[in-house]
């Protein structure tokens, strides 16, 4: 079920009312049933994959906790292999198979292994990573194994964050399912404010920007440079609003039910460096990679070349996590390279700032750094959005042609003559919304909900899926 669907408008209030009417001991059952229903609205049979992950990690958690030494390690390994195998089959098999096939063909050899004709289960990478973090935490002794199978299943399946995160940790979530939640007016009100703001980001900003982005990227061969540049900038904002909008709705939905989810975004385009960007963008995933990949690889407590290697490997896997396509791998590697070069060039940059006197105007220095970081991130988004590497390269080349002009007619692609203007208008609205308190603790929450809802009705679009569902 999509958050931005009419089904959810009925589903969520019903779940809320039933949740607060039920005694605490039955609430986990209601939430689990609701989560199953929510997930099965996509492809019902894929609930079996979730059931497999839940069963494996539930048993693994208990076995890991009850064992030690090599045996404990073995149970952890078995759990990770089972989880990664599901990802490998459903997400990466076809990609791997096609690339092996290409290799065979380029060597003049025949290759007849067919692709699997299966759809990628919604949110597979999210709940698989959440489940893996649980068994690793139990292995490390950071978390006690959950004995209540229903609560554990709910931890993996909790509907607000089931299909696109935030990727939660057992340490912060499991205890919340055991606690008795009382109806709290403040919490419900804040949750509704958060949900409304999330819908604004998704339905007004992201979906309006998508009109132009889709038109230009769909006709990249005939679009002018300025159209390609504008569409890429639009995409940078689109993907932010699409994903952070989803996260806001997830956090708000959970809050209405009395649960606290982690914040996934902290205004990432105001980052002054790539490292800061990754501490503000998809925080639950970047912290996951930090805790379960980067630090186990040695983190920064190694020789310099190994440190860079650790960073590049982490970003490479992060790229691959997003999708089985070379575009995502290049996107991840680009960010890894940005990160490494950012560190390598730290001293020369400081020297330049000193030589030019820029260091005496820290605010100006920060603004320039923010602009440069946003530029680097936006260039990388071309790979993220393009269908394949060839298209990404041709778009980047097209952007460098510097043809076209800023008139509406020149920017228009197909039937999108008003889309550039609408896009700039909704981006201005988003910028205006940044004047709100960062934590959305507002003095006039009800007025905010009413005005934002009317803005959604007035400027929103029925834009369809969230981009991150595909991951």
């Amino acid at each position: 079920m999509l958050f931005n669907s009419s089904a959810f408008l009925v589903f969520f209030p019903l779940v809320c009312v039933a949740y607060y009417l039920l005694p605490h001991r039955f609430r986990w059952l209601l939430l689990l049933g609701a989560s199953c229903y929510f997930y099965m609205a996509f492809v019902p049979v894929y609930i079996l994959i979730l059931a497999f992950t839940i069963a494996v990690d539930y048993v693994s958690g208990i076995l890991i906790e009850g064992s030690s030494g090599e045996r404990k390690r073995l149970f952890l390994l078995a759990s990770i292999v089972a989880n990664v195998s599901v990802l490998a089959v459903f997400k990466y098999w076809n990609f791997l198979n096609q690339n092996i096939g290409e290799l065979f063909r380029s060597a003049g050899l025949g290759y007849g292994v067919p692709d699997l004709g299966i759809l990628l289960p919604i949110g597979l990478s999210f709940h698989t990573f959440q489940s893996i973090s649980y068994t690793v935490d139990v292995y490390r002794g950071d978390l006690k194994a959950e004995r209540h199978a229903g609560i554990f299943a709910l931890f993996v399946m909790f509907f607000p964050q089931l299909v696109a995160g935030p990727i939660e940790r057992g340490r912060s979530m499991l205890h919340q399912f055991h606690e008795t939640k009382r109806f709290r007016y403040d919490g419900v009100e804040w949750g509704l404010v958060k949900i409304t703001y999330g819908f604004f980001k998704k339905v007004v900003v992201a979906d309006q920007l998508a009109v132009y982005v889709d038109a230009v990227y769909g006709h990249a061969g005939t679009a002018t440079s300025l159209s390609l540049i504008l569409a890429t900038v639009f995409f940078a904002v689109q993907i932010y609003c699409d994903f952070s909008g989803y996260s806001d709705i997830a956090v708000g939905t959970a809050r209405v039910l009395g649960f606290d989810l982690m914040e996934n975004f902290r205004r990432p385009y105001l980052s002054a460096s790539i490292s800061e960007f990754w501490s503000r963008w998809h925080i639950s995933l970047s912290s996951w990679f930090r805790d379960y990949v980067y630090i186990p690889l040695g983190g920064n407590r190694v020789v310099r070349w190994r440190w860079y290697y650790n960073l590049l490997i982490t970003f490479l896997i992060s790229g691959l996590w997003h999708g089985a396509n070379w575009t995502f791998i290049i996107w991840g590697l680009l960010h890894g390279l940005y990160f490494v070069f950012g560190m390598v060039l730290e001293r020369p940059r400081a020297a330049v700032a000193k030589a030019t006197g820029l260091h005496r105007i820290p605010r100006m220095q920060r603004v320039l750094n923010i602009a440069f970081t946003a530029f680097l991130v936006t260039i990388a988004w071309v790979f993220f959005r393009a269908e394949n590497v060839q298209q990404a390269m041709s778009i980047l080349q097209g952007m460098l042609r510097f043809d076209g002009n800023w008139t509406r007619a020149a920017l228009a692609v197909e039937d999108s003559s008003l889309a550039p203007v609408t896009g700039l208008a909704v981006m201005a609205l988003l910028a205006f919304s940044y004047r709100l308190p960062y934590d959305l603790r507002l003095r006039w929450p009800r007025t905010f909900i009413v005005i934002t809802t009317l803005t959604i009705i007035l400027l929103g679009r029925n834009g369809g899926d969230f981009i991150y569902f595909q991951f």
């Binding site: 607060y20 109806f183 007016y185 419900v188 007619a409 003559s417 909900i449 029925n462």
Partner: protein
């Protein structure tokens, strides 16, 4: 104690949060709905929504209706064809919608001829833009036609224009724009021609592979309507750029189909598809611009006088 506190808190939430918020949203949405209907939808004589409403309400016995898609809207200058003509062409519509409009037109107590613009993709299936239909869903025919694309909220006052406000705004602003000319329902592009842009369109057209698809079965309603009335119906093929026909597959069958229509009683087919117009008379390879529309409409007007000298 805790239960009592929770109950009173939830009651407070209902009274302080949910009800005022819902009331505020309903009131605001109603105002938006009214403003858009009065200021944007109905005053726009070139908007699809207005044209549909007009088709259902206008009973002027002398009116000559021009029906069709965006090619109709952008090619026929009503004044140059007949002083009582009105252009009912609506962008991104196809035969199904023309059939709804034609059926309605044929029910009127008129004897005037009807112009139906015909194009080579006439029998494709596309409902079109809901912005045209939502203000007219109270007409059963429109409601039935748009059913496939309709969402539940399209019937809820205040919510019904969700996702469509931009369309109404665009149409209303377009009426005040210098980039086009609007006259009696017609909308004609009047932007300066760009040779480079048009060359790109021609290149793209040469790459496309349009094919005539046998409409047998799909055309049953259309044929039934053509045969059902004694009113003269003129089926017109408006001009295309020559590149349109370069790779078109099945032109013979399409022409044969037009011949079949021409043979029906009361039906006249006028094929201006290859009418010679220079490149700067086109908006794109399948639509003329204002200059092209004027030349074509004048030619059609002459033909009209020959066909219907009394009128």
């Amino acid at each position: 104690m805790a239960a009592t506190s929770s109950t009173s808190s939830s009651r407070r939430a209902l009274l302080r949060l949910v009800l005022p918020v819902i009331a505020g949203i309903l009131a605001g949405a109603w105002v938006l709905d009214e403003v858009v209907m009065r200021a944007f939808v109905m005053p726009s004589r070139s908007a699809g929504a207005y044209k549909i409403q007009r088709m259902f309400e206008e009973e002027d016995p002398t009116e000559v209706a021009i029906l069709g898609s965006s090619r109709a809207a952008g090619c026929y200058v009503p004044d140059l064809i007949n002083r009582n003509a009105f252009n009912y062409g609506i962008e991104r519509t196809e035969h199904g919608f023309v059939e709804v409009m034609l059926e309605r037109e044929l029910r009127k107590a008129r004897t005037t001829p009807i112009i139906v613009n015909w194009d080579y993709e006439f029998f494709r299936t596309e409902v079109g833009n809901m912005a045209h239909f939502v203000p007219n869903l109270h007409h059963a025919e429109i409601s039935a036609y748009a059913r496939g694309e309709m969402h539940w909220y399209h019937r809820v006052p205040g919510l019904r224009f969700f996702g469509l406000y931009g369309e109404y705004f665009k149409t209303r602003m377009g009426e005040r724009s210098t980039g086009n000319v609007r006259s009696d329902g017609g909308v004609f592009d009047n932007t300066p021609a760009s040779t480079e842009r048009f060359s790109r369109m021609i290149t793209r057209r040469f790459r496309s592979r349009d094919v005539w698809t046998d409409p047998t079965g799909v055309d049953s309603t259309f044929l039934r309507l053509l045969r059902s009335s004694s009113r003269p119906i003129v089926i017109v093929v408006a001009p295309y750029h020559a590149s349109y026909f370069a790779n078109y597959k099945g032109m013979e069958a399409a022409t044969e189909y037009l011949r079949m229509l021409d043979a029906l009683p009361n039906i006249t087919v006028l094929d201006f598809g290859r009418y010679p117009l220079p490149d700067d008379h086109f908006f794109n390879t399948s639509h003329v611009n204002y200059r092209g529309a004027q030349v074509f409409s004048a030619a059609l007007g002459e033909e009209w006088k020959r066909l219907f000298p009394v009128r």
